[in-house]
């Protein structure tokens, strides 16, 4: 059980908060969830979420992991993290309103302020998106 509310872990707020819960953390790995709300800003007219929205959800999932690590280290304010690069992103299908996204982040090496990570987004057991990201911490 993660003892923090999501807004204690990430600096993003409505209307662009794109993670509902940090579900699980282990060494270098985190799992986050988002229920795609019908008011989500990244929804298209057909009720599906854009790939850009999926990428923002992945980046905020990483941000939740960094926020958790900061809390564990005794820091209150969640760090600001920016996407530096998106590489090899694949969108296999776009999520729809009402679907629950579950995203696993695995962190790789950190060089200076930049952390490399990989991410996999699932709906139930179906992988819907994959990517590598470079996240810059400020």
């Amino acid at each position: 059980m993660i003892p923090y509310e999501i807004e204690q872990l990430i600096p993003q707020r409505a209307p662009i908060r794109m993670v509902d819960r940090l579900l699980e953390v282990s060494e270098g790995k985190a799992c986050c969830g988002l229920l795609v709300n019908w008011r989500n800003r990244f929804l298209e007219l057909d009720g599906s979420m854009s790939a850009e929205g999926v990428i923002e959800h992945i980046a905020q999932s990483a941000s939740a992991l960094f926020g958790y690590e900061a809390r564990q280290a005794g820091r209150e304010a969640p760090p600001l993290a920016y996407i530096g690069e998106v590489r090899n992103f694949r969108c296999l299908r776009r999520p729809h309103a009402g679907e629950w996204l579950q995203t696993t982040i695995r962190t790789g090496p950190t060089v200076g302020d930049v952390t490399l990570l990989t991410a996999e987004v699932k709906i139930n057991d179906e992988v819907i998106a994959l990517t590598e990201l470079k996240i810059a911490m400020v």
Binding site: P11, Q12, R13, A14, P15, I16, R17, R41, F42, L43, E44, D46, S48, S50, A51, E52, G53, I55, E56, A59, L80, Y82, I83, G84, E85, V86, R87, N88, F89, R90, C91, L92, R93, R94, T131
Partner: protein, 124 residues
């Protein structure tokens, strides 16, 4: 939702066949800045990626979906109080399902985004 007239407004467009230069300005009062970040507005990188897609849609004349991003570099942090005109240069090349898209977003001082991806006409 589309970001046109919400996150940005056009100041000019020079489309030709499969490539174009688009000029725009960010809208400082876009609601996205209430949450990104409270008291510290920063243009979300993914919104700039969507601006590039909307420019590509102008060239293609249809709705496009991101299928694959080979590489998208968000080089410089962009703040909405930067009211200089932004230029988005886009070049498309056709594929069986849509277009390969190479694009760059910049102003007179800085490059903000370099984008290389595959946009599909097909919903999925």
């Amino acid at each position: 939702m589309r970001l046109e007239n919400d996150y940005y407004t056009w100041t000019g467009q020079e489309p030709t066949y499969m490539e174009g230069v688009f000029r725009l300005r960010l809208q400082k009062d876009c609601p996205v800045y209430q949450g990104h970040f409270p008291g510290n507005p920063v243009a979300p990188g993914v919104c700039n990626m969507q601006v590039i897609r909307e420019c590509a849609e102008q060239l293609a004349g249809c709705k496009l979906y991101v299928r694959h991003l080979k590489k998208c570099r968000l080089i410089t942090v962009l703040k909405p109080d930067n009211q200089s005109e932004l230029t988005v240069s886009v070049r498309l090349s056709p594929t069986s399902t849509g277009y390969l898209c190479r694009a760059e977003m910049r102003d007179s001082d800085c490059i903000y985004v370099i984008y290389q991806g595959e946009l599909s006409r097909e919903e999925r």
